[in-house]
């Protein structure tokens, strides 16, 4: 037997750098806690930020390498650093940088006083980064599970009854999704003898899809698995409860980061299936997209709680963006990333606004944490907060020239250029339906009189800290002046997506 001879250069360890940094950070935080407990949370926040910034720097480096030499493989060709991996990691790390200072609020919240919270958080980021930077189904699975398990715990640490419920629900659904994923991978492996997506595609193509029945079964399993992660209907049932149970920033985070990771994987997986002209895949995806967009919008219309409304609206946005995977052109895939970058600004801003308007105890006569009545007449008591919240709502509704309009416009345009005229119309009309429930909050804030019982409950000034102000300010400026940023983002994203061959 020959000795295995591997040179370090051939491993190309630089491809691992962005994922390893947060994991080292997490271990570091655990070690600090071991030596000296009871340190203030601000230390951990800043440490996490530091590691995230380093992670971001490593990504910039990877982006530079990619634009010079194209797609990089590493570690026995398991790691795959292409444009998709880099852009999605930028989104993941960027959104995390925005998220983590949100825990620095005046009122001490239970979860953030544990150092484990930050360790788990960094582990989760590492997991997601692994998930997007490979086309090996096993590594995807490992990344997905690392991230999800950390996420379940993070939700449960919010430590209200509803958060336990949310965490358990999310865990159960996540376990089911993991099961589906392994079934799907198993069938693909059985068909092709490979667990690398590009190999699977090659073998299936060479075989001319003779086992179409099995391929379809695998596709259904995979779609169900990612359906859970992306909260596509009918796999969405966990989403509103989980959003309601977790803290507002965590809910906002949930609507962005896990989904972009799942989008990237489904983009890798479905791209070749769509282009293989198997009409069934297209039909199934088409139906999923339309139903997710429309039904989530209709459910959002009847919600009485703002957080649940935002949960359903996030589902609808996910359906909207899923259309990119159906259309599967370079323009559509670029639109997906453009949309998600702009969406993360606006949605994190909206959830941060909910976070500062939260109250520690539910006042009498208020059934849920963030119902609409709480916001009535907010413009009288705190006009700036009301205006900023209204701005985020208008942006989510897709009103120009605010951030999300550009994403919507580019996405609809990609549907048109991809030949999906009807889909483009459905997307446009869904935006109109969505307009109603976003408007409802604006109506409450600007056109109703403040109710006396709730006047005391929304006490924004006591919740707001400098870091929160900074983050909301950045989100606001990003939302208003998005039109200046669209061109550079679009050029960057299109170049990277095109260079990765999607």
């Amino acid at each position: 037997m020959n000795p295995v001879d591997i040179s370090i250069e051939s491993l190309n360890l630089i491809t691992l750098a962005p994922m390893v940094i947060p994991i080292i950070g997490a271990l570091f935080i655990l070690i600090i806690d071991m030596f000296k407990g009871g340190l203030d949370k601000s230390l951990y926040v800043m440490l996490s930020l530091l590691f995230l910034f380093m992670d971001f720097g490593a990504l910039l480096n990877a982006a530079g390498l990619f634009s010079q030499s194209g797609t990089m493989m590493g570690v026995f060709d398991v790691m795959l650093i292409d444009g998709l991996a880099i852009i999605s990691q930028f989104i993941i790390v960027g959104a995390s940088i925005f998220f983590i200072p949100l825990v620095l609020t005046n009122k001490r919240f239970h979860e953030s006083s544990y150092p484990e919270y930050f360790a788990l958080f960094l582990f989760m980021i590492g997991g997601f980064q692994f998930m997007v930077a490979t086309d090996n189904l096993i590594l995807i699975f490992v990344g997905l599970e690392t991230a999800s398990l950390a996420l379940y715990t993070l939700i449960a640490m919010h430590n209200r009854n509803r958060s336990f419920e949310a965490a358990v629900k999310y865990f159960t659904m996540g376990a089911l999704a993991a099961g589906f994923f392994s079934f799907g991978s198993m069938i693909f492996y059985a068909l092709t003898g490979s667990i690398e997506i590009n190999q699977i595609a090659k073998v299936l193509e060479a075989d001319n899809y003779s086992n179409i029945g099995f391929v379809l079964v695998a596709v259904v399993f995979m779609l169900a698995s990612f359906g859970f992660k992306l909260s596509l209907i009918p796999f969405h049932t966990w989403a509103p409860d989980v959003y309601e149970g977790s803290s507002a920033p965590m809910a906002g985070y949930l609507s962005i980061v896990p989904k972009i990771a799942a989008f990237v994987v489904s983009m890798r997986l479905f791209e070749f299936l769509i282009h293989s002209n198997i009409v069934w895949v297209e039909i199934v995806l088409y139906i999923t997209v339309v139903i997710t967009m429309t039904m989530a919008n209709i459910w959002a219309l009847v919600q009485t709680d703002v957080k649940r409304m935002l949960a359903y609206s996030s589902i609808s946005h996910a359906g909207f963006v899923m259309a990119a995977i159906l259309i599967s052109t370079t323009q559509a895939n670029s639109a997906l990333f453009l949309y998600w970058i702009l969406f993360s600004f606006t949605n994190l801003g909206a959830f941060a606004m909910l976070w500062i308007s939260r109250q520690k105890y539910l006042p009498a006569g208020q059934s849920s944490d963030q119902n609409y009545e709480k916001f009535s007449g907010l413009v009288k008591t705190s006009p700036v907060a009301a205006s900023i919240m209204a701005l985020f709502m208008l942006s989510l509704a897709g009103l120009p020239p605010f951030a999300l309009f550009w994403g919507k416009m580019y996405m609809i345009s990609s549907a048109i250029t991809g030949g999906y005229t009807i889909l483009a119309l459905i997307m446009a009309l869904n935006s109109a339906i969505a307009g109603y429930y976003y408007l409802k909050l604006i109506v409450y804030m600007f056109m109703k009189e403040p109710s006396v019982a709730h006047e005391q409950s929304v006490n924004i000034s006591s919740n707001i800290t400098l870091s929160l102000k900074t983050i909301i300010g950045v989100a606001t400026i990003g939302t208003i002046f998005a039109f200046l940023a669209v061109n550079p983002i679009l050029e960057f994203v299109t170049a990277f997506v095109y260079k990765s061959g999607y």
């Binding site: 009103l399 120009p400 048109i416 604006i442």
Partner: protein, 517 residues
């Protein structure tokens, strides 16, 4: 500075509005009036610098916005848009000047200044996406004005207004993106510039579909029958200033967009849909006139009459010849002045009596003579009396359409007589006879603030009614190349026949060469 006058006109009120947050609420009225006067002076300066003999776009500005997707910040003004811009700044000025005592006046003035930005922006934007941005953005201040200062049903009215227009314009957005895609297919470059699109000749079937997509967006805004149901609510619930701006400027966005987009981009489709739209317009004229006759509320009478006259504008636009389009552009200005003034007048009496029901009044002519005179004059203008501003526009619009169809024009003409009936009846109910209610006996006549708003409108109504040339000529100069462009672009025989060819000389030279071939 004059090179960037359009950008200044757009963003000066917006910047002033942002700074206005810092102004104390007792001084905000003076601040608002001051800003609006400067803005109006700037728009007059624009008119002064405008070369009315030139037919094309003037004061063009060009900045890349999203260059990889062909979106540019392009502005320009021609005879068609010039006067609507002036009208917008004029109405904002007298609107702010005439604001009575109300709650949250600071928010109102800041909102009006933002609204002004969007109004000017819509009329000078020459890039479809920039146009769309301002078009949609104009909904937000109006939503707030109706929803925060309106009547008892204000929330329903404002949300209905918003959603109706929002839904329509999203369909239009799909149309815009399609148009850009066709341009991309034809040239290999993305562009949303309207002047680029003008050069594109589309196959007729595409024209029909795109025409419908744009039509839905525009027709809801105008509002055309059967999409008009949001308007009576919006007018009924809006405060006076909201109704004035809505009727005078915001509705004109729809009719203006027909002339800027639908006609030159889709000439064949415009001819194809000419008669269906004309019939809709005539239904709109007659039906809303009849509805107006049945109203008890004077504001609803004015609102429905406003819709009715928008029908004449549409009819003139779809005459597709120089007389009709020039007339409809002129009528947009006229309608703005007259219906704006009528809503002001209704607001005057509402401020005094807190009711708009005509049965509550009667014999006001003896109590408030100046008010009755101004009201009477505006009413005559609204009906289309010769020597008032509306007459010029209505006459030209109908003359234009008469060339296309005699019967429909006669129908539309009779409908204007119906207009005279309901308007005169309403006037009779309110102003003539004995003073029956004792609350009406001591009503004060127009005060100084109201006169400041109304007198300029009276002057314009008479001045442009007697001597419309200074306005009509620049409009005409810009409409002529538009009609010629449509004729040149038209593919079908029918369209070539319906849209007149203005440069006959060119045709004569062309024909022999074709025969040689």
């Amino acid at each position: 500075m004059v090179d960037h006058i359009l950008s200044i006109l757009i963003f000066f009120p917006a910047v002033a509005a942002v700074l206005g947050f810092a102004v104390h609420k007792d001084s905000i009225r003076a601040y608002g009036i001051f800003i609006a006067i400067i803005e109006f002076a700037l728009s007059l300066w624009l008119w002064f610098c405008f070369d009315s003999t030139v037919s094309g776009m003037q004061f063009m500005e060009h900045l890349p916005l999203v260059s990889s997707f062909g979106i540019n910040y392009i502005l320009g003004v021609d005879g068609i848009s010039l006067f609507i811009v002036i009208l917008a700044s004029f109405f904002t000025m007298i609107g702010i000047a005439s604001l009575g005592e109300m709650k949250d006046i600071k928010n109102m003035i800041i909102t009006l200044l933002f609204l002004q930005m969007t109004m000017v922006g819509v009329f000078v934007a020459l890039d479809a996406i920039v146009f769309y941005i301002f078009w949609e953005l104009s909904l937000v201040p109006m939503l707030y004005i109706i929803g925060a200062w309106g009547g008892p049903l204000r929330i329903y009215a404002s949300v209905k207004f918003f959603l109706y227009t929002f839904a329509g314009s999203l369909v239009m957005l799909v149309g815009i993106l399609f148009m850009a895609y066709f341009y991309y297919q034809a040239t290999g470059v993305w562009s949303f510039a309207i002047l680029d699109w003008y050069r594109l000749i589309l196959p007729e079937t595409f024209q029909l579909w795109l025409f419908v997509a744009f039509f839905i967006g525009f027709a809801i805004k105008v509002p055309m029958f059967p999409f008009h149901t949001w308007l009576p609510y919006a007018h009924g619930q809006a405060p006076t200033i909201g109704s004035v701006i809505l009727a005078a400027i915001l509705l004109k966005m729809g009719t203006y967009a027909f002339i800027r987009f639908s006609l030159p981009l889709f000439p064949d489709a415009s001819v194809f849909f000419m008669f269906p739209i004309a019939i809709l317009a005539i239904i709109m004229i007659i039906y809303t006139a009849m509805v107006a006759y049945g109203q008890k509320d004077i504001k609803q009478v004015v609102a429905y009459s406003s819709v009715s006259h928008m029908g004449v504008i549409i009819l003139g636009t779809f005459a597709l010849n120089v007389e009709g389009i020039t007339g409809s552009v002129f009528l947009m200005i006229a309608h703005g002045v007259v219906s704006g003034a009528l809503f002001f007048l209704v607001g005057v009496i509402y401020d005094r009596r807190k009711t708009k029901l005509m049965s509550e009044f009667g014999g006001l002519a003896s109590v408030m003579p100046i008010y009755a005179t101004v009201f009477g004059l505006m009413l005559m203008a609204s009906v289309g009396m010769p020597l008032t501003i509306n007459f010029v526009g209505e006459f030209l619009s109908l003359l234009g359409f008469y060339k296309q169809s005699h019967i429909l024009t006669i129908l539309a003409g009779t409908a204007i007589i119906v207009g005279a009936i309901y308007m005169l009846t309403a006037y009779k109910k309110m102003f003539f006879g004995e003073v029956t209610k004792k609350e009406n006996k001591n009503l004060p006549d127009l005060n100084k603030r109201e006169l400041v708003a109304l007198l300029p409108l009276v002057v314009i109504t008479l001045w442009l009614g007697i001597y419309p040339k200074p306005v009509l000529e620049p409009i005409n100069n810009s409409v002529e190349p538009l009609v010629q462009l449509m004729h040149d672009k038209a593919i079908s025989e029918e369209a070539k026949k319906r849209i007149p060819n203005l440069s006959k000389g060119v045709e004569i030279i062309k024909t022999p060469t074709q025969e040689v071939n």
